[in-house]
């Protein structure tokens, strides 16, 4: 298993490299200059700036320079937030994004699995129906509609939670974490329900039941273990969903995380910033996929590492 993990990590290197290469070259050919100013720049100033940022060098040299910078965790200067480097922004924003993302994932997994199991055990019952509705809403109603609605409800009408903002208090974190978790709650509950139903039908569970092992124990020990595998396999994609969702959530709730920098960077053509966030988020998703693969092996002995 250890060698498998190592192999997966080594296998991820070309992916990361491809991501860096693609984003670097897309950003270089995308429209818009790297120097956004509020005044027209004279030729002399422009030449100076180009030189200062090494833009007068051939493209491959610039790429090499960028890679060398990355190796030292230097993502270059931000063009939109002119008082900061991209690295400074990431250092400031990443912990915030990770915090929201982590809690949203945890919440989604717990609620999703609980709803899924409840639904599977009482098929077509009230719980199952409710879980189904929640899942449908989570999938079909965009978070950018749910967010403002909750802001109005909890922030204004009821006054229980702050409308927006990020001040370190847990009250301010409730809404964004909940909204971010919603789509994953939907997917995970459906997934759990489906695999649980299948798992209850499998021979070993039937056998266990036939042998007279208590229904409770069968459910918890055998059926659940079988049902968990697809859920664990889903954690990789779930990370991707959470990462994407965080871009929207940070926008709605004004959270100073890196998802927000991505959007601001993209719409203001701050290419170093966009690249930095893309590479970082890409790295997180790739890592999550590796962890998922390894985890599947730990839980399910049938998964071969070959």
């Amino acid at each position: 298993m250890f060698t498998f993990a190592i192999r997966r990590i080594l296998g991820a290197i070309p992916t990361l490299f491809a991501l860096i290469t693609i984003s670097f070259f897309i950003m270089r050919v995308a429209p818009g200059g790297p120097f956004s100013t509020n005044r027209k720049l004279t030729e002399a100033v422009l030449a100076n700036l180009n030189k200062a940022y090494h833009l007068d060098e051939p493209l491959w040299m610039q790429f090499g320079r960028y890679l060398w910078g990355l190796a030292q965790f230097d993502f270059g200067p931000s063009m939109k937030y002119r008082d900061y480097s991209v690295t400074e922004l990431i250092v400031q924003g990443l912990p915030v994004s990770l915090e929201v993302g982590f809690w949203a994932m945890l919440l989604a997994t717990m609620i999703g699995i609980a709803l899924g199991i409840a639904g599977a055990l009482r098929r077509n019952g009230a719980t199952d129906f409710t879980a189904g509705v929640v899942a449908m809403v989570g999938i079909a109603v965009p978070t950018f509609v749910i967010g403002p609605l909750l802001q109005t409800l909890f922030g204004l009408q009821l006054g229980w939670l702050p409308v927006a903002g990020w001040d370190g208090s847990w009250l301010a974190k409730i809404q964004p974490i909940l909204v971010l978790a919603l789509p994953n709650i939907a997917y995970i509950s459906r997934l759990t329900r489906g695999s649980m139903i299948e798992s209850l039908r499998t021979n070993y569970v039937r056998t266990a039941r036939a042998k007279g092992i208590g229904a409770q124990r069968v459910i918890w020990k055998h059926a659940l273990t079988g049902a968990m595998l697809p859920v664990i396999a889903y954690l990789g994609p779930a990370t991707a969903i959470t990462v994407t969702g965080s871009v929207v959530i940070e926008q709605i709730y004004g959270i100073p995380g890196i998802g927000r920098y991505f959007v601001e960077g993209a719409s203001n053509r701050d290419y170093p910033l966009v690249m930095g966030v893309t590479i970082l988020y890409g790295g997180i998703v790739i890592l999550a996929n590796i962890v998922t693969d390894v985890l599947r092996g730990v839980i399910d002995p049938k998964v071969s590492y070959e």
Binding site: G11, A12, P14, T15, L16, A18, L19, I22, S23, I26, M27, V29, A30, P31, M136, I139, A140, V141, P142, T143, F144, V145, P148, L149, T152, P183, Y187, R190, L191, G194, S195, P230, V231, A233, Y234, G236, P237, A240, I241, V243, T244, G245, V247, V248, Q251, F262, V263, A266, S267, R269, V274, V277, T278, Y281, G282, V285, I286, N289
Partner: protein, 300 residues
């Protein structure tokens, strides 16, 4: 949100291992027995008909603003049954027109992605060997890249037109159909009818196009219904982030975005496009479920 649950795809993949012997017609019959799925398909068809044919019956175009009737309320018996927006444009017409863009991007986008993916995957799986290795390594690498970010990057590159939106979505979404089709192709490669075709003098390309691709389709159809859903949602996200279609063109995503701004003043602006979008997504979801059941005889 965006990504399709991996479990669904994998389940589909596993079931696909049985060769495509069950004819599509049998599956269709099974599908028709599923009332919810069939009903959803009918509603979906009606929505599409409404969006594409409906605007033809209006006496004015979508860009004809009636400056005398700005923000007119709902009045079913007036010239503007669902009222007008804050420029005096007919709201219903706007939503139908936006639906054209959303549905077109969704269906055509999914179709194009499936087309590219199936050809790529079938070739890779059928030919095998080094080519298979290279092609599939490429897919693996691209798979690792978070899809949404790639869409935004490409969107920046090709610009903010409807076509650009379409391209950026397709470029990213062909990967899964490719993997599915490859799996099918590998299992079909050494079957008798393929051998027979080869002996009969068909070229490799003819075999891929006439035998491998059609036999992968049943699996791919299930997946594409989910893909349409994904594309429509992605489009609405891009619109929310300000990277979608440009005014005065609209899509459901951009209309909902505008509507979400006026939650407190004019709820119609959110509810009408939102209703259409949610109804479409619900239907697509049920249709996808129905298709999966129909193509998987073991389920019932």
């Amino acid at each position: 949100m965006s990504d399709v649950p991996a479990g669904t795809i994998e389940a589909t993949l596993e079931r696909a291992e049985q060769p495509g012997l069950s004819p599509i017609r049998a599956s269709w019959r099974r599908f028709c027995r599923n009332r919810l799925a069939l009903g959803s398909l009918v509603i979906l068809g009606l929505i599409a008909l409404l969006c594409f044919a409906g605007p033809l019956f209006f006496p004015y175009g979508v860009e004809d603003a009636d400056f005398e009737n700005i923000s007119a309320p709902v009045n079913l018996f007036s010239a503007h049954p669902f009222g007008t927006d804050d420029f005096g444009r007919d709201l219903l017409l706007r939503v139908l027109d936006g639906g054209r863009v959303s549905l077109a991007v969704g269906f055509v986008g999914a179709l194009a992605a499936v087309f590219i993916g199936v050809i790529y995957g079938a070739t890779s799986g059928y030919v095998g060997g080094l080519l298979d290795n290279v092609l599939m390594r490429t897919v693996d690498v691209l798979y690792g890249i978070p899809y949404f970010f790639l869409v935004v990057l490409i969107n920046l590159l090709v610009g903010r037109t409807t076509a650009g939106l379409f391209v950026s979505i397709v470029v990213v979404l062909w990967l899964t159909p490719a993997v599915i089709a490859r799996g099918q192709a590998v299992s079909l490669r050494h079957r008798e009818f393929v051998d027979a075709a080869r002996a009969g003098g068909m070229t490799e390309w003819q075999i891929i196009l006439q035998h491998i691709v059609p036999n992968s389709l049943n699996v791919v159809i299930v997946y594409s219904s989910l893909l349409v859903l994904e594309v429509i949602i992605t489009e609405s996200f891009l619109s929310f982030l300000g990277l979608g279609v440009q005014a005065p063109a609209s899509s459901w995503g951009s209309l909902i975005d505008a509507g979400a701004r006026s939650i407190e003043t004019d709820l119609r602006l959110l509810l009408l496009p939102g209703g259409f979008l949610v109804a479409t997504l619900f239907c697509l979801n049920f249709v996808a479920d129905g298709l999966r059941d129909a193509f998987d005889p073991n389920e019932r």
